[in-house]
Amino acid sequence: MQVNEYKPLIVAFCCNWCSYAGADLAGNNRLAYPADVKIIRVPCSCRVNPMFILRAFQRGADGVIICGCHPGDCHYTSGNYYTRRRMAALFSMLDYLGIEKERTRVEWVSAAEGAKFAATMNDFAKTVASLGENKRLEDLRCKK
């Protein structure tokens, strides 16, 4: 009998200059992380509209992680600072709504940190998996 292990659905927004390249480097170095993580490329972490995150949870995502350049290293000088502030507010609101704050994360991953990218994703996927399925914000009408 095959046991169907619970697989979380994780959306990762990665900035084009640091974190997406960091993810590429993880690939180059064959550093494995769970396939549950699906990456969406954005020019800068500050492009991530809270709307995207709400939509992801609404459609059944179990965790959302945003990766950007380290503070001070943003390709656009200050984008990641906006991200940090906006997401702090958003995550706190989501937490209030019942989306545990462990399901949301902002992480700084540089283009040189392939290993950090893989480690972050492994850790995040593990954390999210341990929380189980996220149902709080799911729009059941989206389920076919």
Binding site: L9, V11, N16, W17, C18, Y20, A21, A23, D24, A26, G27, N28, R30, L31, A32, Y33, A35, K38, I39, I40, R41, V42, P43, C44, C46, R47, V48, N49, P50, M51, F52, R55, A56, R59, G60, A61, G72, D73, C74, H75, Y76, T77, S78, G79, Y82, R86, S110, A111, A112, A118
Partner: protein, 664 residues
């Protein structure tokens, strides 16, 4: 509705090994908009690209999805392919199923499943793509070179040779950099000054080149082709245009006990000084921390003896604004501090010196006029111990030193050892090494000559402790080949200190938004294929600011950086990135939220007339994005409360479609 073609790449076995490419192309066939789907061994090959072109024609495709390697790798390639097939290049989307799928997952089932989802996201996005046309911006035909060492000098000369104007900003009173401090250069042993100073003169005489010495860059705005730079010219209290460099002031200045930086503090200079005889520009500079006149208004000797009347105690720092099309960073290196390595007693004895200090000691223009003597007592040293790798190749957890190999030390130490034995055959010379690294033309031959012809004693091992005792330096070291601990009574110990990027590099990188590695070396756009460009467009790298380098390498990199700059300045217009923000003026309420977050000042406001449904007109304030200045970060799109601001190429609807596709 778009007519989308999907092309799944095997990348040999790189993708096909973990992803069932057939299943992927099959699954994507039924996605909305997809009219054609196939897979091929190497999509980026000529045959693969032809396949795409043919399919565009045959199936009347309006959008293309390539499931392949990272878009950072081949997005540009496939955009060109689309353009060649008559499509707008921005109608291409890449699903990264190599770096972010086949290479990180081992199981074929999971890999294939994820590849399909990534492909679906790309299809969902391309369905909402619109043709984009990049804007154009003019190019300011002038380059800025930051740093006036050999790297900056060579870059500036090469750019000027091509007919473009170049400015050099150097923080010291003279250009010349580290090379001006060297004695001989390996492996040919020509004298550094003999080959450098003519180049310095060339710079001074070249009418295309301006030198801002004793100056620094304080602000950088703008973007490739249109940088707006503020240069701070520090007050040197001497009118540069008038000073003849005669040196009368230097001679008469009563403050003569200031440590001379050029000789690394091994002798003194006066408060008003010219760093060295061949300085360019050859003008005096007053050290404000040492000058009595500037500190408490008492003295004024230099002003009295200056026949040209060049002294100006009231001079202020001056700020200059200038526009540049390209910026070259050539900020160079410094030896690291030896403070954390006092087992070698650098801070406890004057006769323990660094290799750069040794250069000054053996240089004819140095503090001892080229006579190799001990700094402590001026006596001739009979036994000299050279220690390699001091602070290089240290593990990070050792909490001191640098992790990298400083690259130049093996060769300059061989040079020092050889020259010492050549000039003073009565001197015993030991070199303690971990490895001797000599990959370079005629480098190993040079090192072998030092051993075989000049009798330098190379010992495999490290020095553990240097104990100054009386007028000797007791050196305790290991000889790993003989498996012995050696005790040598040395007269002089020379440390091959690791090199690190100049401290000014980090703040400069922030100003330029150019990336750096953890050691503060500038990162290149591609380590192999774009070694002299920074990832930030319009910023180029020359010399040791990018990594440790010797002179030949620095000069060739300087030339390469210059050729890249020339290529840029030769263009009249630059095509920009079309993925820029744009504001829907019908939705915009002119609140200024977007302009407040824009790091580039790309957003301005206009009063615009709108026709209302009742046929009246109304004037409203709306945001307008300057596409030449916008870099496409998207900060404004999130700040906009009315949803008027969007980003081309990464539109709200497109990203939302990707989210939907992934979360299905």
């Amino acid at each position: 509705m778009q007519r989308v073609g999907v092309f799944v790449c095997w990348c040999g076995s790189n993708i096909a090994g973990t992803v069932d490419v057939e299943a992927v192309s099959e699954a994507l066939k039924s996605e909305p908009g997809v009219v054609f789907s196939t897979n091929y061994q190497y999509m980026c090959s000529q045959a693969g690209q032809d396949m795409i072109k043919d399919a565009v024609k045959e199936h009347n495709l309006t959008g293309i999805v390539v499931c392949s390697c990272s878009p950072r790798m081949h997005e540009a390639t496939f955009r060109k392919t689309a353009a060649a097939a008559g499509l707008n290049p921005y109608m291409v989307e890449i699903a990264n199923i190599r770096e972010q799928c086949s290479w990180v997952h081992k199981d074929v089932l999971t890999g294939t499943e994820k590849a399909i989802i990534l492909g679906k996201a790309a299809v969902a996005k391309v369905n909402l793509n619109t043709p984009l046309i990049p804007g154009e911006s003019p190019v300011t035909k002038r380059a800025l070179v930051i740093g006036g060492g050999i790297a900056g000098i060579q870059t500036a000369l090469d750019i000027a040779d091509a007919g473009f104007e170049v400015d050099i900003v150097e923080k010291k009173p003279t250009i010349g950099g580290k090379m001006a401090q060297l004695d001989k250069t390996f492996p040919t042993l020509d004298c550094a000054a003999c080959i450098l100073t003519p180049k310095m003169v060339d710079v001074a005489q070249n009418e295309k080149i301006r030198i801002f010495s004793y100056s620094e860059v304080t602000e950088v705005q703008g973007f490739v082709g249109n940088f707006d730079v503020t240069i701070k010219k520090n007050a040197r209290y001497v009118k540069e245009e008038i000073c003849t460099g005669c040196g009368a002031c230097v001679e008469k200045c009563p403050m003569k006990k200031i440590p001379n930086e050029f000789n690394l503090g091994m002798d003194n200079r006066s408060a008003i000084y010219i760093p060295f005889a061949q300085a360019v520009p050859k003008v005096a500079t007053i050290d404000p921390n040492a000058c009595n006149m500037l500190k408490n208004g008492k003295c004024g000797v230099c002003s009295k003896v200056c026949a040209a009347g060049a002294i100006d105690y009231t001079q202020k720092d001056e700020y200059i604004n200038e526009k540049y099309g390209a910026i070259v960073v050539a900020t160079g290196f410094n030896p690291i501090s030896m403070d954390k390595f006092d087992e070698f007693a650098y801070n406890q004895s004057k006769d323990v010196i660094t290799s750069l200090e040794f250069e000054r000691l053996t240089n004819a223009a140095g503090p001892s006029a080229g006579k190799l003597v001990r700094p402590s007592d001026g006596k001739h040293p009979h036994t000299i111990v050279f220690v390699q790798c001091v602070g290089s190749r240290c593990e990070s957890c050792a909490e001191k030193g640098k992790e990298y190999c400083s690259k130049i030390c093996c060769m300059y130490t061989a040079k020092h050892a050889m020259l010492t034995r050549d000039k003073y055959p009565d001197t015993e010379v030991y070199v303690f090494y971990i490895d001797v690294r000599t990959p370079g033309k005629n480098f190993d031959e040079f090192y072998r000559r030092a051993v075989e012809e000049y009798g330098v004693k190379y010992v495999k091992g490290m020095v553990g402790k240097v104990t100054p005792e009386g007028d000797k330096l007791k050196v305790q070291a290991s000889d790993l080949i003989a498996n012995k601990q050696l005790h040598i009574d040395a007269d002089l110990v020379v440390l091959a200190a690791a090199i690190e990027p100049d401290k000014s590099a980090r703040p400069l990188a922030t100003m330029l938004t150019a990336s750096m590695d953890t050691n503060d070396f500038f990162t290149e756009a591609h380590p192999k294929l774009r070694p002299v460009e920074s990832p930030t467009a319009g910023v180029f790298l020359s010399g040791a600011c990018q990594g440790p380098k010797d002179i030949p390498e620095t000069v060739s990199q300087a030339g390469a950086a210059a050729s890249k700059v020339i290529g840029l300045l030769a263009k009249d217009k630059l095509t920009g990135n079309p993925c820029v923000a744009n504001s829907n003026e019908l939705m915009c309420n002119g609140c200024s939220s977007c302009a407040n977050v824009c790091p580039y000042g790309a957003i301005s406001y206009e009063d615009k007339e709108f026709r209302m449904p009742d046929r009246t007109t109304k004037v409203r304030r709306v945001a307008v994005v300057n596409p030449a200045v916008c870099q496409g970060c998207g900060a404004c799109t999130v700040a906009c409360p009315s949803g008027a601001m969007d980003l081309k190429g990464f539109a709200n609807s497109q990203i939302m479609a990707e989210v939907d596709a992934i979360c299905k």
